[in-house]
C-alpha cells in the first residue's frame, strides 16, 4: 500500500515544488552559513595580524616608557567560533566575535560593537535554522492541508470509502508518506550541512538534529489534527496558515515586545556615563582619592609610592580603574536584567515549540545571549589578568623589552556548552503527543 501511496504522491505538483524549494533554499542557507564562517576566520586572521603589527609599531617609538606603550597597546580576546554556529547564527551577528582592549578602563571598551548592516540584522540571517523553523512547516502544511478534503472535493473519497473499511488508517498512511518525505529532505540537508560546514557530529549536532525532527513532528501533528476535523480545503488552508502566523510571527513577537518593555535597561546608559565621570573626576581630586580605593582593591601594590606633585602611571591606571569601579554596580544590574530577559523568554518558550526551537538552536550553537554574556565575563577576567601582569612592570618602570611580547598574541575563549536532553525535548514532545492523540481520536470516528 505504501508503495502506491508514494507513487501517487510523487506525481503531485506539490511534491516537486516542495522538493525544489526546500533543497534550493536549504542549500542557500548552508552556503550563507559557510560565508559566515569564512568571515569569522578572516576577522580572526585580521585581528592576529593587527595585534602583531601594532605591538611592533608602537614598541618602536615607545620602548622607553612602558606605561605609555600600554596606554596604546590593544590585546585581543576571541570567542572561538564553532562551526555548528553556522546552522543557527542567532545573536552572534549582533554581538561581536572578538574584543580588542587596552589595559585602561574596561567598561568603556567592553560593549563596542562590530560593524554590521542593520538592514541585515533586522531581516535576520537565512540560516538552516530559519529554513527548519519557518519553511519546513509551510511545506508540511502545503502537502497535507487537503489530504482529505481534496479527495472529498474531487469525489474520489466515496470510491475509496467503498473499497476500504479503514478509512482513518488510509488517511494516516497518506500523512506518513508526506512526513517521511519531509524527514528525508531534512536529514539530507543536515548531512549536507555537516559536510560543507565541517560540523563534527558531536552531542550538540545530534541535539539539533533530534530536536528538529521533534519540531517537524509537532507540525505534522498539527496538520493531522486539522485534517481530522474533516473540513473543506479552504478552511484547512486558512486555519493552518493562521496557526503558522501566530506561532512563528505573532506570539514570539508579542513575547519579545513584552520582555523588552517590561525589563528596560536604562542601566546601560547610566553605566557608560558613570564610568567616564568616575575616571575623569579623579584628575581634579587629591591623589589619595584614587589611591585609597586602588590599594584597597589591589593591596599587593600599596608599597608603590605616589608622588603628590606630578603625574605617575600608578595614579593614572588607578584612576582608570576607578572608572570601572564607579560603574561596577550599575553594570552588574544591567547584566542581571539581560539575564532576566533571557530566563523569562526561555520559560515562555517551553509552551511554544517555535520559540523553544529557536532558543534551543541558538543555545546549542553557542550563539545565544547567555553565550555572549559568558564571553563578556571571560573578557573581564582576561582584562584583569593583563592588568595584574603589567602593573608591577609599569610601576617599577621596567624597560619595554623586559616583556616577552611574543607571548601576548591573540587569545581565545572557548565557550562551554551544557544542555539537558529532558529540558530540550520534553516540552515539545508532550505538546506533540497531546495534539496527535486528539487528531487520531477524531480520525477514529471516520
Amino acid at each position: 500500500m505504501y508503495k502506491l501511496l508514494f507513487k501517487s504522491f510523487f506525481r503531485t505538483k506539490i511534491f516537486l515544488v516542495s522538493l525544489v524549494l526546500l533543497i534550493t533554499v536549504g542549500t542557500v542557507s548552508i552556503l550563507i552559513g559557510k560565508q559566515y564562517l569564512v568571515k569569522q576566520e578572516k576577522t580572526i586572521v585580521a585581528a592576529q595580524e593587527f595585534q602583531k603589527e601594532s605591538v611592533k609599531r608602537i614598541l618602536k617609538y615607545n620602548d622607553k616608557d612602558i606605561g605609555l606603550l600600554l596606554y596604546y597597546l590593544k590585546f585581543t580576546l576571541v570567542k572561538k567560533p564553532a562551526n555548528i554556529s553556522a546552522i543557527s547564527i542567532g545573536q552572534s551577528d549582533v554581538n561581536p566575535l572578538l574584543q580588542a582592549v587596552t589595559i585602561r578602563g574596561l567598561e568603556g571598551q567592553k560593549y563596542d560593537t562590530d560593524f554590521e548592516n542593520p538592514s541585515l540584522l533586522m531581516s535576520g540571517n537565512l540560516d538552516l535554522g530559519f529554513v527548519i523553523i519557518y519553511l519546513f512547516p509551510l511545506v508540511l502544511i502545503a502537502m497535507t492541508f487537503n489530504l482529505y478534503s481534496e479527495e472529498k472535493e474531487l469525489g474520489t473519497w466515496r470510491i475509496l470509502a467503498a473499497q476500504t473499511s479503514k478509512k482513518g488508517k488510509f488517511l494516516f498512511n497518506k500523512l506518513i508518506v508526506r512526513i517521511l518525505f519531509v524527514f528525508a529532505i531534512f536529514v539530507f540537508l543536515m548531512f549536507l550541512a555537516s559536510g560543507i560546514l565541517q560540523i563534527p557530529m558531536n552531542q550538540n549536532f545530534w541535539a539539533i538534529f533530534f530536536h528538529s525532527l521533534l519540531y517537524l513532528l509537532f507540525w505534522s501533528a498539527l496538520c493531522l489534527f486539522t485534517v481530522s476535523l474533516l473540513k473543506n480545503s479552504s478552511f484547512n488552508a486558512l486555519a493552518l496558515i493562521s496557526i503558522w502566523v501566530v506561532l512563528t510571527i505573532l506570539f514570539p513577537a508579542v513575547v519579545n515586545n513584552y520582555v523588552i518593555n517590561k525589563y528596560q535597561v536604562p542601566e546601560a546608559l547610566d553605566a557608560m556615563v558613570e564610568q567616564r565621570d568616575g575616571y575623569h573626576e579623579k584628575w581634579d581630586l587629591e591623589k589619595n582619592a584614587t589611591m585609597t580605593d586602588f590599594y584597597e582593591a589591589y593591596p599587593q601594590f600599596n608599597h608603590y609610592p605616589v608622588p603628590e606633585d606630578r603625574f605617575s602611571w600608578i595614579w593614572y591606571y588607578g584612576m582608570q580603574h576607578m572608572g570601572d569601579l564607579a560603574a561596577k554596580e550599575t553594570s552588574a544590574e544591567m547584566m542581571e536584567k539581560i539575564t532576566l530577559r533571557n530566563t523569562i523568554s526561555e520559560k515562555v518558550a517551553l509552551f511554544v515549540p517555535t520559540m523553544h526551537a529557536q532558543l534551543s538552536f541558538n543555545n546549542l550553537a553557542g550563539t545565544d545571549m547567555v553565550s555572549h554574556l559568558s564571553f563578556l565575563k571571560a573578557l573581564t577576567q582576561f582584562h584583569e589578568q593583563l592588568r595584574l601582569n603589567f602593573y608591577p612592570r609599569i610601576f617599577d618602570r621596567k624597560p619595554a623589552n623586559s616583556v616577552n611580547w611574543e607571548k601576548h598574541d591573540t587569545k581565545f575563549y572557548i565557550a562551554e556548552y551544557n544542555f539537558s536532553w529532558i529540558y530540550l525535548m520534553l516540552p515539545t514532545f508532550f505538546i506533540t503527543i497531546v495534539i496527535t492523540f486528539f487528531g487520531l481520536f477524531n480520525l477514529r470516528k471516520l
Partner: protein
C-alpha cells in the same frame, strides 16, 4: 459605470464580510494586537526618550561643571550623543532596535554607537516585533486575502455571477464594485490604526523636534491607503482568474508568503552574500595603514609632521616651536584630528557603500513586490530607517569633531608653549560657552529623496492595479 450599482455591490461585499466568521476572529485578534502594540509602542517611546533626555541633560551638566583645566583634558573628557526616538517610531519600529543608541564622543577616536536593543535581547527578536505598522504591513494584507479570495471565484462557482450579468450589471461594475468593497473593508483597519496614531502625533506636536510629524503622518496615511488599494486589486484579480475559490486562496496565500516573508529575507541574504562586509578590525587596520602612510604622529621624525613643523616655523619667522605665538601641541593635534577624521570618514563611506549595494537588491525589488515599497517608505517616514540612523551618526561625529577642534583651538590660543611662563589651565567658563549636542530629525524632503524608488514603485503598482482591473472588466468569465 453607474455609481449607485458600484456602491451597492461594494456595500454588499462589506456586509457579507462583516458577518463572516473570519471577520469575527480577525477583529478580536486585531483589537488585541492593536491594544498591545499601542501600549508597548508608546511605553517604549515614552520611557526610552525620557531616560535618554535625562542622560543627555546629565551629560551636559557634568560637562559644564568641570573645574578649570587644560583644554585637552576636556577633549578627552568628551561627551555623549544619545539617539532620540521619533514619535512615529510608535507606529513603525523599523530598525529602531537594531541600531545603537549612545556613542561616546572624544578626541582622536570615532567610537561605535553602542547599546542597541538587539545587543541586549534574546534570539526571539528575530521572530520580528509587533508594531502598528507590522499589523498593517503583515497581518492586514493576509486578512484582505482571507476576506477577498472568494469574491468573484465563489460567485462564479455558485452561478450568481451569471445571474448578476444577466440582470444587466456590467462586468466593469462588478469588478470595480467588488474592488471598492474590499478596499473600504481594509480601510476599516487602516483608519482605526491611524486614528489612534493621530492621538500620539497630536500629543507630541508641541515638541519642535517633532514639528514635521503631522506632515509625515499624512503621507504615511496616503501611502497605506494606496497600498491597500493595490492589495485589494491583486485579490480581485487572482480571485477572478482562478477556477475555484480554493485555488484563489492557495494562490493568494502563496503570494503573501513569498512577498512578505520569503523574498525580502532571501534578497537581503543574497545581497549580503554578494557583497561581503569587512569586519571592524579589518577596517580599522586599513584606516591606520592609510594614516601612517600620510604621517605617523607617533614617530618623532615623521616627514609629514616634520614638514608641517618646518613650514609653520618659517611662516612665523621663529626657530623653535616654543617661540611660536600659539601653542604648538594644540596646533599639531588640530592637524592630526583633521587628517584622521578625513581618512576615517572616507573608509566609513566605503563601508556604507557596501551596505547600500547589499540593500539595493531588496530596495529595487519594490517594482515586483509592493510590500517592499511600503516597508521602506513606512520606516523612512517613521524615522526608523537606516538613513535616519546615519543622520544621527553624522550629527554625532560632526559634534565630536567640533568639540575636539574647539579644545585644540583653546589650547593654541590660551596655553603657553612648553618652557614658557603662564597658566597650564583655562577657566571653566569656556566649557559653558561650548553649545550642547542637539539633534534634529532628518528633513522630510530628504526622506522623499531617499525613498524615491519606493514611491515610484508604489505609484506604478497603483497604475498597474487599475489597468489590471480595467482589463478584467472586459474579459471576466461569467462561468
Amino acid at each position: 459605470m453607474r455609481k449607485n450599482v458600484i456602491y451597492l455591490l461594494a456595500r454588499q461585499l462589506c456586509t457579507d464580510a462583516i458577518r463572516s466568521k473570519v471577520m469575527g476572529i480577525a477583529s478580536i485578534l486585531m483589537v488585541f494586537l492593536l491594544s498591545f502594540s499601542v501600549y508597548s509602542g508608546w511605553e517604549n517611546y515614552h520611557d526610552q526618550n525620557n531616560t535618554r533626555d535625562a542622560i543627555q541633560g546629565e551629560v551636559q551638566e557634568s560637562w559644564e561643571n568641570n573645574p578649570d583645566k587644560h583644554p585637552h583634558r576636556m577633549a578627552h573628557y568628551g561627551s555623549f550623543a544619545i539617539r532620540i526616538k521619533h514619535i512615529l517610531s510608535v507606529f513603525d519600529l523599523g530598525m529602531e532596535n537594531f541600531v545603537g543608541n549612545a556613542v561616546f564622543l572624544e578626541a582622536h577616536k570615532q567610537n561605535t554607537v553602542n547599546f542597541s536593543e538587539a545587543s541586549m535581547s534574546t534570539g526571539l527578536l528575530r521572530f520580528g516585533e509587533v508594531s502598528l505598522a507590522m499589523l498593517l504591513k503583515v497581518i492586514v494584507p493576509l486578512l484582505i486575502f482571507y476576506l477577498g479570495f472568494a469574491t468573484i471565484a465563489r460567485e462564479r462557482e455558485n452561478g450568481t455571477l451569471k445571474l448578476l450579468i444577466g440582470q444587466g450589471i456590467t462586468r466593469k461594475e462588478i469588478v470595480f464594485g467588488k474592488w471598492l468593497g474590499l478596499w473600504s473593508l481594509s480601510l476599516l483597519f487602516l483608519f482605526t490604526v491611524f486614528i489612534v496614531l493621530l492621538f500620539f502625533v497630536v500629543i507630541e506636536s508641541h515638541d519642535v523636534m517633532q514639528a514635521e510629524s503631522p506632515f509625515r503622518y499624512s503621507i504615511l496615511l496616503v501611502s497605506y491607503i494606496l497600498f491597500f488599494g493595490i492589495l485589494s486589486a491583486i485579490t480581485i484579480l487572482v480571485s477572478a482568474f482562478s477556477k475555484t475559490a480554493k485555488g484563489a486562496l492557495v494562490k493568494l496565500l502563496g503570494i503573501w508568503l513569498l512577498f512578505v516573508i520569503i523574498v525580502p529575507k532571501s534578497l537581503q541574504a543574497i545581497g549580503y552574500y554578494l557583497y561581503p562586509t569587512p569586519s571592524k578590525i579589518e577596517m580599522e587596520t586599513a584606516v591606520e595603514h592609510d594614516l601612517i602612510k600620510q604621517g605617523d604622529s607617533h614617530n618623532p621624525d615623521d616627514p609629514h609632521f616634520k614638514a608641517i613643523k618646518d613650514s609653520v616655523l618659517l611662516a612665523n619667522n621663529v626657530e623653535k616651536v616654543a617661540d611660536l605665538p600659539f601653542n604648538y601641541g594644540g596646533f599639531i593635534m588640530a592637524k592630526g584630528e583633521a587628517l584622521s577624521t578625513k581618512v576615517y570618514l572616507e573608509h566609513q563611506e566605503k563601508l556604507y557603500d557596501v551596505y547600500r549595494k547589499q540593500n539595493n537588491l531588496e530596495r529595487y525589488s519594490a517594482f515586483v513586490n509592493p510590500y517592499t515599497a511600503i516597508k521602506n517608505l513606512s520606516t523612512a517616514l517613521s524615522g526608523t530607517d537606516f538613513k535616519s540612523f546615519l543622520h544621527f551618526k553624522g550629527k554625532a561625529e560632526a559634534y565630536r569633531f567640533k568639540l575636539a577642534q574647539e579644545m585644540n583651538r583653546l589650547q593654541m590660543d590660551l596655553i603657553p608653549n612648553k618652557g614658557k611662563a603662564g597658566p597650564n589651565i583655562i577657566s571653566r567658563d569656556y566649557w559653558k560657552k561650548f553649545p550642547p549636542f542637539e539633534y534634529n530629525f532628518l528633513n522630510t524632503t530628504k526622506v522623499f529623496k531617499n525613498e524615491i524608488i519606493s514611491i515610484l514603485a508604489l505609484f506604478l503598482w497603483g497604475v498597474l492595479g487599475v489597468l489590471g482591473l480595467l482589463r478584467l472588466s472586459t474579459n471576466l468569465k461569467a462561468i
